[in-house]
Structures are given as C-alpha cells and as structure tokens.
Amino acid sequence: MALTLALLIQGAQMLLVLALAPLLTGFLRKVKARLLRRQGPSLLQPYRDLLRLLRKEVVLADNASWLFRVTPYLVFAATWVAAALIPTFATGLAFSWTADLIAIVALLGSARFFLALSGLDVGTSFGGIGSSREVMIASLAEPAMLLIAFSLALVAGSTQLSTVAAYMASPDVGLRVSLGMSLIALVMVAIAENARVPVDNPATHLELTMIHEAMILEYSGRHLAMIELATFLKLLLYMSLISCLFVPWGLAQPGDWAGAYAVGAMTYIAKLGVGGVLLALFETSIAKMRVFRVPNFLGAALMLALLATLILFVARSI
C-alpha cells in the first residue's frame, strides 16, 4: 500500500513537472512583456509552439549524423529524469534514493555533453561557437553547483534531496551564513545554467551574442520541440530545487493525509509564480554582459560556494 502510494506520487510528480514546465516559461514571458508594457503572448503560447513544432517535418543538414538525431531525446530524457527526482510538492518520493544531488548535477551534465556534441556535428561555425562557450560556462558553473551540493550535504548530513528538504523544513536548521551564501551561489548558477540574462539571452536573434541558441541552431521540427521542452524543464527544475531547499514550507511529508498533498501542490505553484515574477523583474532590470565577463560572475558564485563549504568544515569543530 505504502509502495503503491509512493509510486503514485512519483508518477504524479513526473507528469506534473512535464505539464507545468511550458506554463512556467509562458508565465515568465508574459510577466516580462507586461513589465515592458507589451501585451505579450498568451500563457499557453509555449504549448502551442511545442505542438506546432511536433507536427512539422524535420529538416536535417546533409551531413548530420545519428548522434544529431538521438541527442534531442537523450537530452530530454536526462532532464526529465533529473526533474522528476527533485521534490516539488512532497518529499519521500519513491525513487528519490536512485540519484542524489550530485547525480542530478551530473545528469544535467550528461544532457549538456550531448547537446554540445550535436552543436559540433553539422560543422557550422555557429554550432561551434555555441558549444565552446557552453562548455566554458559549464566548466565554471558545474563545480560551483557541486560545492553548493557539498555545503547543503554538510548541513543536512546527506546528499539525498528528500532528506535534505525534510531537514530544511524542520525547525533545527536556523539561520546560517553558509546557507545564505549557498543560496546566492545557487541562484547565480541557476541563471547561468538556464541561459538567462545577464549570462545569455534566450530571446536573442543576433547570432554572435547567442550561446545556447547558437548551439541548437540547426535543429528543427520535433527535435527542436524536444530540446525546447528540455529547456523548459530545466528552468522548472532549478526553481523547484531552490524552492525545496530554501523555502521548503508546505512540502507534504510521507505519511501525511491527502489534504497535505493538495496544500503542497498549491504552495508549489505559488512558489513557482513568485520565482517567475522575481526572475522576470531581475531580467528586465539588468543588461546582458559580454561573454568574457561571465567567468567573473560565475567565479563569484564558485567562491561563495567554496566559502560556504569551508565555513561548514571549520565550524564542525567548534
């Protein structure tokens, strides 16, 4: 019985993230448009875009290889699995023990590995520029993310996300300097990983300023739909991660009655809404930086995360 319930919650969560991800991006775009005093597209526009892309035929470059055709599905699968393992409205997911935070970071790394390869596959300069810049950003963002995982694991005594989230929701956490630093670092990494302003501009159409978009320039049709969906999922993933770690209130615990799950789902959607508004505000109030300023930005995140870990190491003995 308990197992069926856990499986049910896991399944519900997998579908929930998939269903909500385009909505979050649609909401973000809408808020950004309103902040710029535009009407903006409908909230449902990302769904329509996806459907339209799915129905179109794929135009493949002449020398595109099998890797190019497999990558969209791999990227989508890895991102989906990673997103499904992050607690959204309830902790104690049935499969939360399969992959801890380190494995989730590495899963996203796998997705990026294949995406960067497919950028090189066709052999155009834009794909190359996108891939090389993406791996440069990742090579700084990923260690920062791992150090954030270290600092959280040191506080909660585990790298298991459900355990960490349950610990964060308990009253014995308190305010900690290192947690504050990790939060700031995590937000910075999330901005970079999701190719948001000021690191990258998801809405740009000027080739030389693109990073993520340049890498996937050759994709079309259902392949592009898969990659877009993975991008939406990744944004949702990072928002769920930040919310389950730093604002874990409302998360249903295993053994709660059904109402707690409903409350959990409502608060989760409310948290996503707040996150979306904050991100839109931040993005409209800041300009995109030059590519080679990004290392400074990410270096700051890396240093903050390192400092947070170091403080925890040293504080253990006091």
């Binding site: 135009v59 699968a77 052999g123 300069s125 791996v135 585990s158 890396l302 390192l306 190491f313």
Partner: protein
C-alpha cells in the same frame, strides 16, 4: 596454499618465453598473429587466476620463494588480495591490448621492434605486482621500465620519439633511484629485504617521512603525478597505440600499486600531514592534467594528459584514505580506498578504450592531429560509437562507470569534516572544489576530443578517405565499452569484490552492496546517501524510448535532408569549421591566462594588403620552465665546467688524486 602464485609465475614464464620466441621469429609474417595470440591466452589465464583468488574468498595468501636473485635470500613472490586486484587490472588490460594488437599489429612497419618488448612489458608488470621482496620488486620495476622504454622508441626515426624516449629514460632512472633509496631505508641497517620482515618492523617517524617523500618521487613519477609528469605526455603517445593503452591504462596503475603497497601495507600507519601532501599533489595533478588536455590538439597526447588528471583523482582518494586511517576512522578510510581502487579499474577500462580508438583513427587516416580530422562518425560508425562511450565514461557522466567512482570520492570528501586537524579541514574542501573543477573540465575536454575528431566535416583528404577498422580492434573496443557501462550500472558488484583488499589494508570494508534493495550503491551508514546507476540507466532509456515512441506515433516522423542552415550563411569550406584551437579558446582565455600564461595576438596586414591576418597564441608550460629548465641548465653548466678535467696533464691528475686521498683521510680522522 601456493597454487595461485605458482600458476601466475608459470604465466610470467610463458610471457618471457613468448619474448624469446618473438625475437626469433619476429621477421616472419605470422609472427604478429602468433605473439598476440600467445599473450592474449596467457593474460586471460592469469586474469582468471587472479580473479578467482580475489572473488573466491581466499583468505590465505599464496606465497612462493624461488632460489633466484640475491644468494641466501631468494626471490619472494606472494599473491594477496591487493596483488590479485592489480593483477586483474594488468592482465585484463594486457588481454584487451593483445586482442586489439591482433588487428592493429598488422599495420606495424617494424614488428620486430614491438613484439618481443610487448610480451616482456607484460611480464614485467606482472612481476612487479607479484614480487614480495625489495630486490625482486626493484628488478622487476626496472625490467618493466626498460621494456616500455623500448616500446616508446619503437618508431625511433621520428625525432620527437627519440626525445620522448630520452626524457622517459632519465625520469624512469630518477624514479627507480628514489625507490631504491626508499626500500633501503625500509630494509634498515639489518637489511631485511623480504616484505614480510619490513612489515613487521615499525620505522621511526623520520624514516617514514623520508620514505613517503621518496615513494612520491619514485612511484609518482611513473604514475604521472604533477610535477613529475613531464615525460608522460611525450612517451605515452609515441608508443604504438595498444602499448599507449597499456602504459596509460595499466602501467600508471602499477605505480599506484607500489605506492599503496608501501604506504598502506609495509609502513601501515600513515600520519595526517602525509595525507596533506598527497591530497595537494593529487588535486594539482587533476586540474593541471585536464587543463593541459583541453589545450592539446594531438588526440593521443590529449589522452595522455587526461591520464594525469585521473591519476590525480586516484591520489586524492588515496590521500583521503590516509587521512581517515590516521584519524582512526576505518569505515571512511575503506570508502576512500574503495573509491581509489574502483577508479583505478574504471580508468584502465576507458583509457584503454580511448587509446584503442585513437589508434584506429591513426591507422586509417595516419593522423593524430585533430585539426586535420573530422566527420569520422560517418566513415567509422562503430569506432565512433565505442569512442563516444569511452568519452562519456571518462567525463564522469552517469550512468557510466567514471561517475560511480567519482561519486564515491565525493561521498568520502563529505565525511571529512570529522577529521581533527585544521590543515585537513581547510585542505579537503579546497581539494573537493578542484576535483569538481577537473570533472567539469573533463566534460569540456572530451566534447572537444570527440566533437572535433569525429563530428563535423572532414578537414583533410586523409579524414575524407577514412574507413572502419578490422574486427579484432572493434571487438576489443566493444568489450571495453560494454564493461564501462556494466561497471557503471552495477557498481555494487565491483565494490563487493574490492572488500577483501580494504579489509586487508584498513581492517574495515564498505557495507555489502548486493544486500541492498534494488542493487543500490550506499557508501557507509554515516553518509546517508545512495545512488543507483541501474535505475538511472533504466529511467533514461525508458523515458527516451517513450518520447521517441509517442512522437513518432502521434506527431510527425517526416525527415527531409537539406543543406546546413547556419543562419543562412553556410561555410563553404570545411576549413572554416570550429577547430580544436578555437574550441579551447574560451577556456584558454578564462583559465589558461593563469595556468599557462597564454597570450593571444592578432597580426593585421596593412590596409590594402591581401595577406591574411594571423592569430598567434603563445602558451608556456610553467612547470617545465620553472623546474626542469633550470635543472637542465645547471646540469649543462656543471658538465661544461667539469669538461675541463678531461684535458689535464698527468702531473695535475696525480696532484688531484693525492689531494683527494688526503681529503678522504682527513674526513675519516675527523668522523666521530
């Protein structure tokens, strides 16, 4: 119980016999096939014997003393859990290389320069691991070094190879010299050469410190630990590719074996500050190795530099194991040591695979330079597929095996706040950060290695005319690729198999993994974490197939081929593609300015001139310039000055001899 070690020594004798046979027949046409078949069979049998010993739950060690070597002492050989594990690594790598060699060796222009030394090299590595006294150990070590040196200069007509051979010879001699001193100190004034006697005596702290330093020089230089790594990226690529695979994938592990044997077994009580040094050198090797690899455009040198990175990761785990052991935390020490051994096994799999792949590319195109390759995925589909598997594994991406062992290392790092010493408390998080950085850079490096070599459009006629390689090579690579995946999704099997080694060296082991539900990997109870490679693999496969199925069924499955889009501005010539140098440019600008003092300058032609503009990139190998060049300079200075002594008159020589005699007598008189 001596059957195991006797069988293995017969195997070594067989390998040495193959060496002799190869010398006799190496110019015949059938020699290549015969020698590699023989080494394949012998290595496989020895692998099976070692695996049976490790997995068979054989608690007793298998010992044998032969009346060879030094008189009255004899040559001691012993097969314990640690030796059995390393023999598995050595002989599996040897068997894979022999299988690959069956196909690859046919293209060898001078088989008589390769075949005898190949078998001898395998025999040497086996003997080092089996040896159980200082004399046979050093003799086997030197035999292994010389055999591999002969293989490095097999193609001696290329000037870069002779230079590589020379530097390797100098570094190997220096390393053996350090080992000689280390064992002399361990043997003590009584001259107890046998490992059993050394193990029984407890050295003083001073001796222990000096031995550790000497082991770091001796074993570290062979393993490629920074700053003693300079020979490695020169020598490993110079050898034929299956030998490169053995040197990178296996011989560096034999060096790690020597380190583990002395530090964990013979001395047995590591001090905490010793772990500090090991951690520092390991982290430095990891980051510098992978940064060098990222900048490299020669495929085999890139792989050699990445070996330095992986050796760094292994030494970090070993350093953690030392720190935990010194602090009386046996469980955590067992976890770190398991992580190190697991990574040793994994690295031997994927590095052999990658070198085989590079060898396949080299055979069919004649190119090692990535800037001249490209588009091979269409021409060598199978090779590129297995090479991709190796790249994913070495980049520590789940669900492959590289991730499983690095995950264990990270879990060990997370246990280290319990360590007592402040030095370690500050060092370990920094090391963790550097390890994370090197893991991320490894992803970038192998995107470059695979992307520039196999993807895109061919950059030269040689790459255009490439074709798939022979079946033997493909089989060897395929087996390794499957093993990379299997050990990645079932890490529990390996961890359980390693438990006798950690029990013998630390006195503790990780929890039984096969007893866990769903074959989940759990480090130790304190870390409260788990990872399940099998389920991650299943989930990814299932969701990807689900997506493919749903989309192809419900949406569209139409495909049209057309010219590349490239924003409506397609590059006409393949030369305009991104190259290895341009791919590395962002990271060179971010990290290279600091690590290599990289500078770029653009030379623009004067206005109106039709000459091309040129981009010049200047990079420095700071360790070579700061450490080795002054040393070389000093040696040259001294030899030039001493050269004067060669041309003296007889009177001056006599005076000199007389003066020296007086000096020696004075020293003797003053000596207390």
């Amino acid at each position: 119980m001596m059957a195991g070690v006797a069988a293995l020594l017969w195997g070594v004798a067989g390998l040495l016999g193959t060496t002799v046979l190869a010398m006799a027949i190496s110019r015949r046409t059938f020699a290549t096939r015969l020698v590699y078949s023989a080494t394949l069979a012998l290595c496989f049998v020895m692998f099976a014997v070692a695996a049976l010993h490790l997995l068979g739950g054989n608690a007793d060690d298998s010992k044998l003393t032969l009346p060879l070597g030094l008189p009255w002492i004899g040559a001691h050989f012993r097969l314990d859990a640690l030796a059995a594990f390393f023999l598995i690594v050595v002989n599996f790598g040897g068997a894979a290389a022999s299988l690959y060699g069956l196909g690859y060796g046919r293209h060898e222009a001078a088989p008589h320069r390769v075949l005898p030394f190949f078998a001898a090299f395998l025999a040497g590595m086996n003997l080092v691991v089996l040896a159980s006294d200082a004399f046979s150990f050093l003799l086997s070590w030197e035999f292994m070094s010389l055999a591999s040196w002969a293989l490095v200069i097999a193609h001696h007509r290329e000037p870069s190879h002779t230079r590589a051979g020379f530097i390797y010879l100098v570094m190997a001699s220096a390393g053996t010299f350090a080992l000689l001193l280390a064992f002399a100190l361990l043997a003590g004034p009584a001259g107890t050469y046998a490992f059993s006697a050394i193990r029984a005596t407890q050295p003083t702290p001073l001796v222990e410190a000096v031995v550790l330093g000497l082991m770091l020089v001796g074993a570290g230089s062979k393993a490629g630990l920074v700053p003693l790594h300079v020979w490695l990226p020169l020598a490993h690529p110079a050898a034929p590719s299956h030998v490169s695979a053995l040197m990178s994938g296996v011989m560096t592990k034999v060096a790690v074996y020597a380190f583990i044997r002395v530090v964990f077994d013979l001395m047995g009580h590591p001090t905490w500050w010793a772990s500090l040094v090991v951690l520092f050198l390991g982290a430095l090797s990891a980051v510098l190795g992978i940064l060098h690899a990222m900048m490299e455009n020669d495929l085999k040198r890139l792989l050699a530099y990445s070996t330095i990175e992986n050796i760094g990761i292994i030494f970090v785990s070993l350093g953690l194991a030392m720190a935990f052991k010194a602090n009386g935390m046996p469980l955590a020490a067992a976890l770190s040591l398991t992580a190190a051994l697991f990574h040793i096994l994994n690295h031997s799999f994927f590095k052999s695979l990658l070198f085989f792949g590079a060898g396949a590319v080299l055979t069919t195109t004649g190119e090692r330079n990535m800037e001249k390759l490209g588009g091979l995925i269409h021409r060598m589909p199978l090779t590129s597929f297995v090479f991709l598997a190796g790249c994913v594994a070495i980049s520590a991406l789940p669900p492959f095996n590289g991730f499983a062992s690095e995950w264990l290392t990270f879990q060990a790092i997370l246990l280290s706040p319990e360590l007592h010493q402040w030095g370690l408390k500050v060092m370990v998080p920094a090391v963790g950060g550097l390890l994370a950085l090197s893991a991320a850079l490894a992803v970038a490096t192998f995107v470059k290695a695979f992307g520039i070599t196999f993807l895109g459009r061919p950059r030269s006629p040689a790459a255009e005319g490439a074709h798939e390689v022979d079946r033997f090579s493909l089989t060897a690579m395929l087996i390794l690729a499957v093993l990379c995946l299997l050990t990645g999704i079932l890490p529990g099997l390996v961890i359980d198999a390693l438990s006798p080694v950690t029990t013998a060296l630390i006195g503790s082991r990780m929890p039984v993994q096969l007893a866990q539900p769903w074959l989940t990997t759990v480090p130790i109870a304190e870390s409260r974490s788990s990872y399940n490679g099998l389920l991650v693999f299943l989930f990814i496969t299932m969701s990807a197939s689900l997506a493919v199925f749903v989309i192809h069924k419900l949406a569209s499955r139409a495909v049209r081929r057309g010219p590349a889009w490239g924003c409506g501005f397609p590059d006409i010539t393949p030369v305009a593609q991104y190259t290895g140098t341009s791919f590395a440019e962002p990271i060179r600008r971010v990290l290279g300015t600091f690590a290599f003092r990289a500078r770029e300058s653009v030379e623009m032609p004067p206005p109106g001139s039709l000459e091309p503009a040129r981009l010049r990139v200047e990079m420095h190998d700071l360790i070579w310039e700061a450490l080795y060049q002054p040393l070389v300079g000093a040696v040259e200075y001294a030899t030039t000055k001493l050269n004067y002594l060669q041309f003296l008159t007889i009177r001056r020589y006599l005076t000199l001899v007389f003066g020296y005699l007086v000096f020696l007598l004075l020293v003797l008189a003053i000596w207390p």
